[in-house]
């Protein structure tokens, strides 16, 4: 199987373990990933909050490249990239006025439809839970995972058409397939503050504190994410949160692809897990 791959900017820096683990897992599944040629940044939140058309043209440019390459599908692990690619595709498909503007700006049009998947959709629906189950070598039993979806994977549901925006299940289903228990908790789709981490750090610290406290209350021993922004706000800033609020949260935060990798018995090092801020040892020992 060959799929288009849109890594996005974060996966080469702050979210490098997301890229490493995604590639390692796909290799184990014999899935070939073809990078979208000469891809550019999706613009993320600054794009669509500065100029609407910039927030569409930047991601749309990548869809044009993918279509020229003959790709029918692309998987975008970063939730922000996924969300922006889907938003651009939706706007162009639903508004002739936007479609015309995009071809005026870029000077080219998309030649064929390109389906866009996030990682949860990719492993649950494209690869399939049955196949995933048959590949599990080391079930993640003893693990109580808090599946954290955040905003960008589920909202706006009209555009993304993926999972329930109030109580999504896709990540829970993947984790259960890997043998883990998933906790019922109230912060599944609460916002972590996203790109406010730099300009409004106080907001991010408070929002992340709420997420940790509800995960701990639900008895979770780790948080699972599929978004580089969620990961950096929860993992990189956990120490800062403890210092700010006098808490002692010690919750490893995993990308879903890292846990799929562990269940396939790929070593933590080969999944890039030495790049975490919060020690992952407790959880890895629990898996055994």
């Amino acid at each position: 199987m060959t799929y288009g791959y849109y890594p996005g900017c974060s996966l080469h820096a702050t979210a490098k373990e997301f890229n490493i683990s995604m590639r390692a897992v796909c290799k184990a599944f014999n899935i070939e990933l073809t990078e979208v040629e000469d891809w550019n940044c999706c613009g993320a939140t600054p794009g669509h909050t500065t100029k609407e058309e910039l927030g569409l043209a930047l991601p749309y440019s990548n869809l044009i490249n993918a279509s020229k390459q003959g790709l029918d599908n692309i998987v975008a692990p970063c939730a922000a990239c996924y969300n922006r690619l889907k938003s651009a595709d939706y706007s162009v498909n639903n508004s002739p006025l936007v479609k015309e503007r995009m071809s005026q700006i870029i000077g080219e049009e998309k030649q064929r439809d390109v389906k866009i998947f996030n990682v949860l959709e990719f492993f649950r629906d494209v690869y399939g839970l049955d196949k995933l189950k048959s590949e599990v070598k080391k079930p993640l039993s003893n693990l109580n995972a808090a599946c954290y979806y955040g905003c960008l994977l589920v909202r706006p549901s009209k555009v993304l058409q993926f999972d329930d925006e109030e109580d999504p299940q896709s990540m829970d289903q993947i984790m259960q397939t890997l043998g883990a228990k998933t906790v019922d908790w109230s912060s599944k789709t609460e916002c972590c503050g996203g790109s406010h981490a730099i300009p409004e750090t106080e907001i991010v610290l408070e929002l992340a504190r709420r997420i940790f406290s509800s995960a701990v209350k639900a008895g979770a021993d780790c948080i699972v994410v599929a978004c580089p922004l969620c990961h950096s706000n929860l993992d990189m800033r956990q120490k800062q949160i403890n210092a700010r609020y006098g808490t002692n949260f010690d919750l490893p935060v995993f990308y879903i692809t890292e846990l799929i990798g562990l269940a396939l018995n790929i070593s933590p090092k080969d999944l890039g897990m030495n790049a975490h801020f919060v020690d992952t040892k407790i959880v890895i020992e629990k898996i055994g």
């Binding site: 900017c9 490098k16 100029k51 609407e52 910039l54 006025l97 000077g107 503050g193 730099i198 929002l207």
Partner: protein, 193 residues
Amino acid sequence: MQIKLDNSVDKFAGEIESLSGFNVYDCYQCGKCTAGCPVAQFTDESPTKLLRLIQLNQKDQVLKSKTPYLCATCNTCSGRCPMQIDVTKIMETIRIYAKKNHIKPPVQEVNTFSDVFLDSVHSGGRLFEFGMTLNYNLKNMTPFLNAQLAPAMLKVGKLSFIRQKTKNKKRLKDIFDKSDYFEPKEEVSKKEH
């Protein structure tokens, strides 16, 4: 708070309606957007109140509010609005409207972050996280902001000093030069409900 009602002046509500594609008079002040807003405690005007101020054409007060800038664009409000108003879109519209009309943003830091982020993308096609963060600190005059994270990031290899650039320079230039503040929209009255 005293509100002077003067509907004869500029009809701010109408401007926001045509720019956002949503009729703000659909809002009947139920408060659901505010109830679910993760940043409501940090804002000066709740989303519900901001909508009311737009309905009453209180342009100055709306443009002075920090709320549209503190909005994390999480879309919770939009998903829950019983009248299907895209409240997040309204927040974005206010920010873009202010930017287009050179109105000083009440939360400069958020705009500075957007500017340095997009400058980085404009000059190379891809975001250079390290360069952008340095640039933000310089422009914001907070040279050591987030510096406490740097040693640990360096240790685990998350500070990348390698700058990646895209090849299609013309495409990038066109996107930044030709993109307008607002995308064209159908008239709200013609939209299907």
